[in-house]
């Protein structure tokens, strides 16, 4: 079992990779996030992309949005075709980090694309996966867990 915190830490890293896609083939991934419990702090989201050669997924983008209770919409545009996953956490205390306990268990809320869930361990990439193909708009949803 890979500790959840490693995955989320990768997802939330604040630097952003350069990412250029020709407009003609660029798609937009929209994620509807449910169950945000407060307007404190921010929702931090990391976009992961599968390695077409079979290697480990890499983080390709990170966004931060002020938290709003209930539903939120997050979009990632200009995406090339491929398999993606979104990992999110709710930085309620605004310290820019996903707080975790001594074991690396998150103590702030988190969620995943494709309604993937962590229970007794983090979800696998395949459970969070959203495939971006020729469609210009791809939608997914996730639900926060606290």
């Amino acid at each position: 079992m890979k500790p959840l915190h490693l995955l989320l830490a990768i997802a939330a890293a604040s630097s952003t990779c350069a990412f250029a896609v020709a407009p003609a083939e660029a798609a937009t991934l929209t994620l509807k996030l449910n169950g945000v419990r407060s307007d404190k702090g921010a929702i931090m989201a990391g976009l992961m992309k599968a390695d077409a050669a079979g290697g480990a997924p890499t983080r390709v983008r990170g966004v931060s949005e002020p938290a709003r209770p209930g539903h939120m919409i997050l979009s990632f545009d200009g995406l090339a075709p491929g398999d993606y996953a979104v990992m999110l956490f709710h930085d309620e205390n605004g310290n820019g980090e996903m707080d975790e306990n001594a074991f690396g268990i998150p103590v702030e809320g988190y969620g995943f694309s494709n309604e993937a869930k962590a229970s007794f361990g983090p979800p696998k990439f395949g459970e969070m996966k959203v495939t971006v193909g020729v469609d210009r708009r791809v939608e997914t949803s996730g639900t926060m867990s606290y």
Partner: protein
């Protein structure tokens, strides 16, 4: 593809939205539910694996015999008591929501109260009328994800701490209850850094009242030392091979003693427990840590095996450590409980543990001696915990009328003799604890106190036996007017 597989697959592929309402999956039922109901008709003793309907309060239990005036206190028990909702039955005995029972004994009378622990999970599922989260042994179709705070079922054991009673699980925090009303006060954050941290269900209490415990997550094993009021004084994480659930450990006057079972987490069965796999090819790993500094002082290898419970450990002047374990040949039992929940009652020798006495020499040599018979739920006279003890008490499967335990016994570790009492064939025997006789000082002077389920009348009975005259059977009994679901562990608070 059967219905359940279809629904699971549908949920996994996101087509569950085509079915009106996620509750459909649970209303549609689960094969386990049907097979259990059918088995219950043929084997009425399976009543012990039915859910409890709700909280209970009985002012004065029907008693038999004479409850000694000197015996005054509360006997608490915990165990899974909500096994099914909306037609969905958990697949594993360890999954159900915890219910804590309190038998109050005073002036020869016994009163009873039992309440479900109001964990966040229990409250949410009670409101929804169906299971919302996966459990350790069961994948729930359409389940929500859950943190260890949300999945905590507080169903394994109890520990009186300060002015609270802690309901313990393995994968998350203790849950504090009011020890009189059993009302839930909430999760216990041991510290900011230990919120939601795994805290196991078999803490060991030293003679000075301090509390030691373990917690296991993946390849991280936590060692905790708390003061008598439950404040953390010491904490250390050590890296260990990933073995999955580990239930118990030992404490001596100097050391914390860890015995990692021969297992890994590479299985492909259902949910978290389904990942635990026997590794008969691997030894058990013994890790000894200084109980004050929590630093590892030595390691040794012990022949392959698996275990849930141990009685006691003590350490000799030269560093020799001795302890008794209810030893199983391998980890298959963890997932055999699935068949049990389905009402299947065939059983194998590997389902039963035997009391085994280990001696670990300072140079790492290991000796072991097995006591005949199938024993579980070991108990000791806790006045002798961490010291050299003579007696180990346990539940025993002696006659075998059912696959469950039918007897209680005392093993004399020095003389080798065994004394036992076998209950009537229509009782299922649960854990019996040793309660010292007030004013006594010699080991073994006291009572065994424990429950049995009388399945024909569907009632649970509290039994008191003289621990020095076990063969005489109960000196006093108290009957509940209903069954208590077969549970795990208890505690006595005078």
């Amino acid at each position: 593809m059967d219905r359940r597989q279809f629904l699971t697959a549908a949920a996994a592929t996101g087509t569950a939205g085509l079915i009106p309402g996620r509750a459909f999956a649970q209303i549609a039922g689960d094969p386990i539910n049907g097979s259990f109901e059918a088995a219950l008709k043929e084997r009425p003793w399976l009543v012990g694996l039915q859910s409890a309907e709700g909280d209970r309060e009985v002012g004065s239990l029907q008693v038999e015999g004479r409850w000694p005036a000197a015996l005054r206190g509360s006997f608490f028990r915990n165990g899974p008591a909500k096994h099914d909702r909306a037609g969905m039955r958990y697949h594993h005995w360890f999954d159900g929501d915890g219910m804590v029972h309190r038998y109050r004994i005073e002036d020869g009378t016994v009163s009873y109260r039992a309440r479900f622990v109001r964990s966040p999970k229990f409250v949410a599922e009670e409101q929804a009328g169906r299971f919302l989260y996966d459990a350790g042994g069961t994948r729930i179709p359409g389940a929500r994800g859950g943190s260890t705070a949300e999945l905590n079922v507080a169903n394994t054991s109890v520990l009186p701490v300060g002015d609270s009673l802690w309901a313990l699980w393995e994968g998350g925090s203790p849950t504090a209850l009011d020890p009189v009303t059993l009302e839930t006060r909430g999760p216990v954050d041991l510290s900011d850094a230990l919120k939601r941290a795994p805290f196991s269900a078999h803490p060991r209490v030293g003679s000075d009242g301090r509390i030691w415990n373990i917690g296991m997550l993946g390849s991280k094993l936590a060692l905790y030392r708390l003061n008598a009021r439950g404040r953390v004084e010491g904490f250390k994480l050590i890296d260990v091979p990933e073995v999955g659930m580990m239930h118990d450990f030992f404490l001596t006057e100097r050391s914390v003693v860890i015995l990692l079972p021969s297992a890994d987490m590479k299985g492909s069965g259902e949910s978290f427990f389904g990942m635990q796999r026997s590794r008969r090819d691997l030894p058990m790993q013994l890790i000894v840590a200084d109980r004050e500094t929590l630093t590892v002082t030595r390691r040794a290898e012990v022949p392959s095996g698996y275990w849930f419970h141990g009685g006691n450990a003590w350490e000799e002047r030269d560093g020799t450590i001795r302890f008794d374990v209810c030893l199983l040949p391998d980890a298959t039992i963890m997932n055999r409980f699935r068949a049990f929940m389905a009402g299947e009652t065939r059983h194998a020798a590997s389902d039963y543990a035997g009391t085994t006495l280990f001696t670990i020499r300072p140079d790492g040599r290991v000796e072991s001696r097995r006591v005949a018979g199938h024993a579980e739920f070991p108990a000791i006279d806790r006045r002798f915990g961490t010291l050299r003890n003579r007696y180990v008490y346990s539940a025993e499967k002696h006659q075998g009328h059912t696959p469950w335990y039918d007897s209680v016994r005392r093993v004399d570790l020095e003389g080798g003799s065994v004394e036992r009492f076998t209950y009537a064939a229509d009782h299922l025997v649960e854990e019996h604890l040793f309660v010292p006789r007030p004013g006594s000082t010699r080991e073994g002077q006291g009572w065994l106190l424990g429950t049995t389920l009388h399945w024909p009348s569907r009632r649970t009975m509290l039994n008191l036996l003289d621990a020095e005259r076990l063969a005489d059977g109960p000196v006093a009994r108290a009957w509940l007017p209903m069954p208590a679901p077969l549970g795990f562990h208890g505690a006595w608070a005078a």
